[in-house]
C-alpha cells in the first residue's frame, strides 16, 4: 500500500484517480487542485509518492511540474510521478535534472487509461525507478536518429521499453520473447552506443536518457 498525495485540477479526473488508486489498495492522503496546496500537503503528510498534473492553477502553465521539482529539493528522495497531456522532452528533462533522477516518472495522461500499466509505473517510481513515457522516448530517439541509426528496429523497441524503467523480465513479457533475448539485445545496444554494461536498472535508463539528450 502506498500513501499518495495527488494534485489534479480537473475534479472529474481527480475523483477518478482517487478511485483508481484506492482500487489498487493505495491510500490517498490528500487530493488537491492547485500547485500551492500540493506543496503544503506533501510537506505535511510526507507521502510515499506524489502524483501531479503539469498544468495547474493559478497560471495553468507548468506549475505542477515546478512544484514537483521544488518538492524534490525540499524532500530529497521523494518519489514523484508527473502526469502530462503533452509529449514534452523539456518537462521530462526538468524532472530528471531535479535530482539524481531516481524515483521520478513522467507519463502521458492517456497512460492512466491502461490502469494496470499505470499502477505498475506508480509502484516502480515509488520504489525508486525512473519511468519515462514511451512517447517521449520515441521522440528522443527520432531526434537523435543518426547515432541510433545503427540500432535495429527491435533494439529501439527494447530501448524504449527499458527507458520506461522496466526490468528485462518485463520487457521480455511485453515483447513476448525470452529474458535471455532481451539481455542479448541490450548488450548489443550498449555496445553500439558505446555505453558501459551495468545491471542497475535506473543507471541503465539514466545512461540511455543522458545519451539521448546529447
Amino acid at each position: 500500500m502506498l500513501r499518495v498525495v495527488l494534485a489534479e485540477d480537473s475534479v472529474l479526473l481527480r475523483e477518478g484517480l482517487v478511485g483508481l488508486l484506492e482500487r489498487f489498495g493505495h491510500r490517498v492522503l490528500a487530493a488537491v487542485g492547485t500547485a500551492e496546496e500540493l506543496t503544503a500537503a506533501a510537506l505535511e503528510h510526507r507521502p510515499d509518492i506524489v502524483v501531479t498534473d503539469v498544468r495547474m492553477p493559478p497560471g495553468f502553465s507548468d506549475e505542477g511540474l515546478r512544484a514537483a521539482v521544488t518538492l524534490r529539493g525540499k524532500l530529497p528522495g521523494l518519489p514523484v510521478l508527473v502526469l502530462s497531456q503533452y509529449v514534452q522532452r523539456t518537462y521530462a528533462e526538468d524532472l530528471l535534472d531535479a535530482s539524481d533522477g531516481t524515483g521520478v516518472g513522467y507519463l502521458l495522461k492517456e497512460r492512466i487509461g491502461h490502469v494496470e500499466e499505470f499502477a505498475d509505473a506508480l509502484r516502480r517510481v515509488a520504489e525508486g525507478a525512473t519511468v519515462v513515457d514511451p512517447e517521449v522516448v520515441r521522440q528522443l530517439i527520432r531526434r537523435r536518429r543518426d547515432p541510433l541509426a545503427r540500432l535495429t528496429a527491435r533494439e529501439v523497441e527494447v530501448l524504449a521499453l527499458m527507458a520506461e524503467g522496466r526490468s528485462n523480465a518485463s520487457v521480455a513479457e511485453a515483447l513476448r520473447v525470452s529474458e535471455g533475448t532481451v539481455s542479448k539485445h541490450f548488450g548489443s545496444i550498449l555496445t553500439k552506443l558505446d555505453l558501459d554494461v551495468s545491471d542497475a536498472t535506473n543507471r541503465r535508463v539514466l545512461a540511455v536518457l543522458a545519451f539521448l539528450r546529447g
Binding site: 503533452y86 492517456e110 487509461g113 490502469v115
Partner: protein, 466 residues
C-alpha cells in the same frame, strides 16, 4: 453578361419613387429650415469659436513662457528640455484640436503620428522629431496663438456685442434710472416701447448673425483640417489605421486559438482521459465475452481518440511555447520532425507573445515543407537577435524549388496540424503573418537546392518571464 433580363415588375417601383418624393417635399422643406435655424449647428459653431479663445490665449501664454524661460535658462542646460517641450507643444494641442473639430465637422481627423518602435522616452522623442506632422502641428500652434484666436474672438465678440447690446437695452434703461439708454453707442433710446423694439430687433438679428458665424467656423475647420491632416498624411494615417486593424485581427485570431486550445484541453481531453480510465477499470473486472471484447475495443478507440486530440491541441497552440518560449518550442518542433533537425537558436529571455507565435508557426511551416517536399536529409534552424531584430534561418539540403504561395510540385502545405489548419495558405500565410509584425520572409530555393528560408522580425524586448 448572360444574366437574365430584369423581371417585368421593375418599372413599377421606378414610377412610384418620384411620387413619394413629391409628396414628401412640401413637408421636408420647412423641417429643414427649422432645423437649420433652431438646430444645434449654429450653437455648435459658436461653441467652437468661443472655446477657441481661451485655448488660444492659453497656447499663447504657454508658448511665450516656454520660449522666454527656455532661452533664458539655456545657459544652465535645464532650458534645453524646455525648448524641446516648446517644439513638441503642437502635439497635445493638435490632439485637442482634432477632438474639438468634431463639434462642427463630423468626419474624424485621424492621429497622423506613428507608434514609436519601442517603449521609452528616447524612442518616442526620436520618432516625433522625425515626423513631418510634428512640425506642422507646431506651425499650427504658432498660427493659432498669434493669429487665429484674436480673429475668432473678434468674430464671436462682435456678434455677441451687437446682439447683447440690442437685447440688453431695456435692462440698461432700467439700470440707468434716467429713462434712456445708449444703444450700441449709436443712438439713444428714451422710451420703453422703443427699448423693447430694440430688444426684439436683437432677438431677430441673433439667428441671422449666426450665419456669418457659421461661415467663419467652417472656414476655421477647413483650415484646421488642412493643417493637421494634409491629404498625404491622411492617406498615411488611413494606412496606419489599416495596419492597426490588421494587427487587431491577428491578435483576435490568436486569442481565439488559445481559447479553443484551452477549451479542448480542459474539457474534451480530460473527459476522454476519465473515460479511458473508467474503461480500463471496467476491463480489470474481467467480464465475460462478448462484453470483455467490446470493452477492449472501446478502450482502444478511446486511446486513439486521446492521441488524436493531443496532436490536435498541440497543433492549435503548443503549450510549450507559452511555458518555455521560442527556443524550447522550436526544439520541440525539431523533436517531432521526421527529418533530423539541428537547432542553433540564441534568443535571450522571452520575446513578445505575437513574435514568438508568428516565428514558431513560420518555422513549423518551413519544417513541414521540408519534410513533405524537399527530400532533404538534414535541416538546420539558426536564429539570433541583433539590435531588436530577430532573424531565423531554416536551411535544408533538399532538392529546392520551393516558392512563396505554394511549393514546387504545386502541393499545398496547409493540411498538416503543424500550421494549425490555416488551410492551404502555406508560406504565403506565414509571410502575411510576419508582415503584420513588420517582418519579412525571404525564400531562396534554386532547383537542386539548397533551400534557405529566412525571416526577420523586429522585436522590442519583452519583460522576461522565468
Amino acid at each position: 453578361m448572360l444574366s437574365p433580363s430584369p423581371p417585368p415588375s421593375s418599372p413599377e417601383p421606378r414610377t412610384a419613387l418620384p411620387r413619394a418624393t413629391r409628396q414628401a417635399l412640401p413637408r421636408a422643406v420647412p423641417r429643414a429650415l427649422s432645423r437649420r435655424l433652431l438646430g444645434g449647428r449654429p450653437w455648435r459653431a459658436a461653441l467652437y469659436l468661443l472655446t477657441s479663445v481661451p485655448l488660444g490665449v492659453a497656447t499663447l501664454v504657454a508658448l511665450l513662457l516656454l520660449a522666454v524661460v527656455g532661452s533664458a535658462l539655456t545657459v544652465l542646460v535645464i532650458g534645453v528640455p524646455l525648448l524641446l517641450t516648446l517644439v513638441l507643444a503642437g502635439i497635445p494641442l493638435a490632439a485637442l484640436e482634432r477632438r474639438r473639430l468634431r463639434l462642427i465637422d463630423p468626419a474624424p481627423l485621424l492621429d497622423p503620428h506613428r507608434e514609436p518602435p519601442e517603449p521609452g522616452l528616447a524612442s518616442w522623442l526620436r520618432t516625433r522629431l522625425q515626423e513631418r506632422c510634428t512640425w506642422r502641428e507646431l506651425a499650427y500652434a504658432l498660427l493659432f496663438a498669434f493669429v487665429l484666436w484674436p480673429l475668432e474672438a473678434l468674430a464671436v465678440g462682435s456678434v455677441l456685442l451687437v446682439c447683447g447690446g440690442l437685447i440688453g437695452t431695456p435692462v440698461m434703461m432700467a439700470a440707468g434710472g434716467d429713462g434712456e439708454a445708449r444703444v450700441l453707442k449709436l443712438w439713444l433710446a428714451d422710451s420703453w416701447p422703443e427699448a423693447f423694439a430694440v430688444l426684439l430687433a436683437g432677438v431677430v438679428l441673433l439667428p441671422l448673425l449666426t450665419w456669418p458665424l457659421g461661415v467663419v467656423a467652417r472656414g476655421r475647420a477647413v483650415l484646421t483640417r488642412a493643417l493637421l491632416a494634409p491629404p498625404d498624411s491622411a492617406l498615411d494615417s488611413r494606412i496606419a489605421e489599416l495596419d492597426r486593424s490588421r494587427t487587431r485581427l491577428v491578435d483576435a485570431f490568436e486569442a481565439e486559438r488559445r481559447r479553443i486550445e484551452r477549451d479542448l484541453h480542459d474539457g474534451a481531453q480530460q473527459r476522454l482521459v476519465a473515460l479511458s480510465m473508467t474503461l480500463g477499470l471496467a476491463r480489470l473486472e474481467r467480464p465475460a465475452e462478448p462484453l470483455g471484447g467490446l470493452l477492449d475495443r472501446a478502450h482502444e478507440e478511446a486511446s486513439v481518440a486521446l492521441v488524436e486530440i493531443r496532436e490536435l491541441i498541440h497543433g492549435i497552440h503548443p503549450h510549450i511555447l507559452t511555458d518555455r518560449g521560442l527556443e524550447a518550442a522550436v526544439e520541440d518542433l525539431a523533436d517531432r520532425s521526421p527529418v533530423p533537425v539541428e537547432v542553433l537558436l540564441a534568443v535571450p529571455g522571452r520575446l513578445p507573445q505575437a513574435v514568438e507565435t508568428a516565428v514558431y508557426f513560420a518555422v513549423s511551416e518551413a519544417l513541414t515543407n521540408v519534410a513533405k517536399h524537399s527530400g532533404a536529409s538534414r535541416v538546420t534552424v539558426t536564429g539570433v537577435t541583433v539590435r531588436h531584430s530577430l532573424s531565423v534561418e531554416v536551411e535544408d539540403d533538399g532538392r529546392g524549388g520551393a516558392r512563396l504561395g505554394g511549393t514546387a510540385d504545386g502541393g499545398r502545405s496547409g493540411s498538416g496540424t503543424a500550421d494549425g489548419g490555416r488551410g492551404g495558405t502555406g508560406l504565403q500565410g506565414v509571410a502575411d503573418r510576419l508582415s503584420v509584425l513588420g517582418g519579412t520572409l525571404l525564400l531562396s530555393s534554386p532547383p537542386g537546392g539548397p533551400t534557405v528560408f529566412r525571416l526577420e522580425v523586429p522585436c522590442p524586448p519583452a519583460d522576461s518571464r522565468t
